[in-house]
């Protein structure tokens, strides 16, 4: 058996080893993230069968919980670890040719730190440890947004940093209040005692934690940083920010709401918040002329949909939400990578500059189209089963309220379709009339490989969703049955 600690230790160690490898040869620096994330991917996939039977617990330093820091590798943790490793691995291949300017070693260090932080957040069973990993994630993403050092990048990094730092402060105050009340930091230990105190006294920490994690998860009133940061970061980082960072923020929020507090009373509030986030994101995306901004607003919309699905809080609702989360991660990472390369070639982020791309860059355009169709939710791509499961779960509640809400979700999907199809139309059917067929510029192989692996995953899981639904159902039951979680950590 491989110890799940290695999932955190190996990338963290290799991150700081990057400059030392740089002494040997500058050329091998860029393969370090590749190696580290390949290791994570293999380990997390190998742990899967074991975790599905029984969660793995690791107490660091031999202190049994609730005293030491412990890692809980349950179905949710390993599912997220595998997604992080997969997307990180593919994006690290993309970065071979994409990241050429400036100090590459800084990029690779920060990139590995970001993914280490994300892995740590999803594996830890200690609320303060979660905060520390969350800060590793946040600080490295602030600096990666500003990696190019251009005007837009610096401005959005400053905005992101101020809002993110406020969010983190709220989280820390919330953790302090919880520690003052319960005298422990272990999630399971707090969860087992949470019903013993009056609900007013845990309401303040709950609100603070939801607000703090909501900043990173880009829930509606707290998402002002997202379109700027996602559109001015390097495209490989936009893919990570959109595919991993907001999902990890969402994970932390869900873990707090479902496991730590078991707060079913805020779920209705989150349901509406999710719906508003969905509508605001899609409506703003419809207006954009800048392709990366459009994708960023679309991420806000998708996050809203996931929050909505998770707040239904039935087994099928959470399964649908997690499925939508996987589909958004794969689809949006693919879209950012493909769009990033087209932006790199055309030199402009304006949608109109993509005219004739269908002939110039046929493979990248095809991949972009598949990603767009998947996000909109057309069969046979992965987006379709996700949306279908969410709507089925909402209708299964058989309440008038949910039928009205489903109407809004379908409306948002129509808006989503409208702006994605507009881009696809520009790529394939506009420009190039009467002129010569433009020269083909096939993207380099290191760009095409990750893009087409994403396309393959999107199509395969879209055709055969059973591949992952079993895992997702187990994850949903881990989130819903907090008594089991507590019992498995504190025997």
């Amino acid at each position: 058996m491989v110890n799940p600690v290695l999932l955190i230790v190996i990338p963290l160690g290799l991150a700081f080893a990057v400059p030392f490898f740089g002494f040997i040869s500058k050329k091998i620096e860029k393969f370090i993230p590749f190696v580290a994330l390949l290791f994570n991917l293999i380990v997390s996939l190998r742990l899967f069968p074991q975790v599905l039977e029984q969660p793995i617990h690791v107490s660091i330093g031999g202190f049994t919980p609730p005293f030491g820091i412990n890692l809980v590798a349950g179905p949710v943790g390993i599912l997220f670890t595998a997604i992080i490793a997969l997307v990180g691995f593919l994006v690290s291949i993309y970065a071979f040719d994409y990241i050429k300017e400036k100090d590459q070693e800084k990029y690779h260090i920060l990139y590995l730190l970001l993914l280490t932080g994300a892995t740590g957040v999803v594996l830890t069973g200690d609320i303060f440890n979660l905060f520390v990993f969350f800060e590793i994630l946040c600080i490295s993403s602030y600096s990666l947004v500003a990696y190019f050092g251009d005007k837009a990048g610096i401005e959005s990094a400053v905005k992101y940093l101020i809002q993110g730092a406020l969010g983190s402060s709220f989280i820390l105050i919330g953790i302090g209040l919880l520690y003052g009340r319960f005298g422990t930091l272990n999630i399971a230990d707090i969860a087992s005692n949470i019903n013993s105190v009056h609900s007013i006294s845990i309401f303040v920490p709950l609100v603070l934690l939801i607000t703090g994690f909501g900043v990173e998860a880009a829930i509606f009133p707290l998402n002002a940083w997202l379109p700027d940061a996602h559109s001015s970061a390097p495209s490989s980082i936009s893919a990570i920010l959109s595919g991993i960072v907001i999902e990890v923020g969402l994970y932390a929020m869900v873990r707090v709401v479902f496991t730590l507090f078991g707060a079913s009373s805020v779920l209705n509030f989150l349901l509406f918040l999710g719906l508003i986030t969905l509508l605001v994101g899609e409506l703003c995306a419809f207006n954009q002329e800048n392709i990366k901004r459009m994708l960023a607003y679309s991420s806000i919309g998708q996050i809203g949909l996931i929050v909505f699905a998770l707040s239904i809080a039935s087994s099928s609702g959470i399964t649908g939400g997690l499925f939508q989360l996987v589909s958004h991660t794969l689809g949006k990472a693919l879209l950012f990578l493909a769009a990033g390369y087209m932006v790199y070639r055309s030199g402009s982020m304006n949608i109109s500059s993509f005219e004739g791309m269908g002939k110039k860059m046929p493979y990248t355009s095809l991949a972009f189209t598949i990603g767009a169709f998947s996000i909109v939710g057309l069969p046979p791509f992965i987006g379709f089963p996700g949306k279908f499961m969410i709507i089925k779960a909402a209708l299964f509640k058989q309440e008038i309220l949910f039928i009205v809400l489903v109407f809004f979700i379908l409306l948002a999907t129509i808006i989503e379709g409208a702006y994605f199809f507009r881009v696809v139309q520009v790529i394939y059917f506009k420009g190039g009339k009467g002129t010569l067929i433009p020269k083909r510029e096939i993207a380099p192989i290191s760009v095409l490989i990750p893009i087409f692996i994403f396309v393959g995953l999107i199509v395969v899981i879209g055709i055969y969703p059973k591949l992952i639904t079993d895992v997702l159902e187990l994850s949903a039951s881990e989130l819903l049955n907090r008594a089991d979680y507590i019992k498995s950590v504190l025997p």
Binding site: E135, I139, I154, K159, G176, G180
Partner: protein, 119 residues
């Protein structure tokens, strides 16, 4: 008066937190906003320390005879604060270095004037 002496640290901590929040939300100059973040951090650290503080308590040394557990200061919040200080330093250092770059690009630190990116 007894109330005040009992809760003075909490009052101080939350005053610092609210002063910091006010500065971050209201001030226009980026350097002032960073100072606000710093004050906010200090307030939170003071709050965490206060959680475990006992007046005239000592460090938890179990080998000393005649020392009861109720006279020991809780060491966990102090470890938390140490970590929180380090994180705060990293965030502030990054913020200040971004401020330098921002000034080079725009020639101003007034956040109301820097608005190329908007909704």
């Amino acid at each position: 008066m007894i109330f005040l002496s009992e809760y003075i640290y909490y009052i101080g901590a939350f005053s610092l937190i609210f002063i910091g929040l006010y500065i971050v939300l209201v001030k226009k100059n980026l350097i002032k906003v960073i100072i606000g973040l710093s004050i906010l951090d200090t307030g939170i650290n003071l709050f965490l320390i206060t959680l475990g503080y006992i007046r005239e308590g000592t460090a938890p040394v179990f080998s000393k005879p005649g020392l009861n557990a109720d006279k020991m200061v809780d060491p966990v919040p102090q470890a938390l604060v140490l970590t929180a200080i380090v994180i705060g330093v990293a965030v502030l250092a990054l913020a200040v270095s971004l401020a330098v770059k921002l000034y080079k690009h725009y020639g101003t630190l007034n956040l109301r004037k820097i608005k190329e990116q908007k909704w």
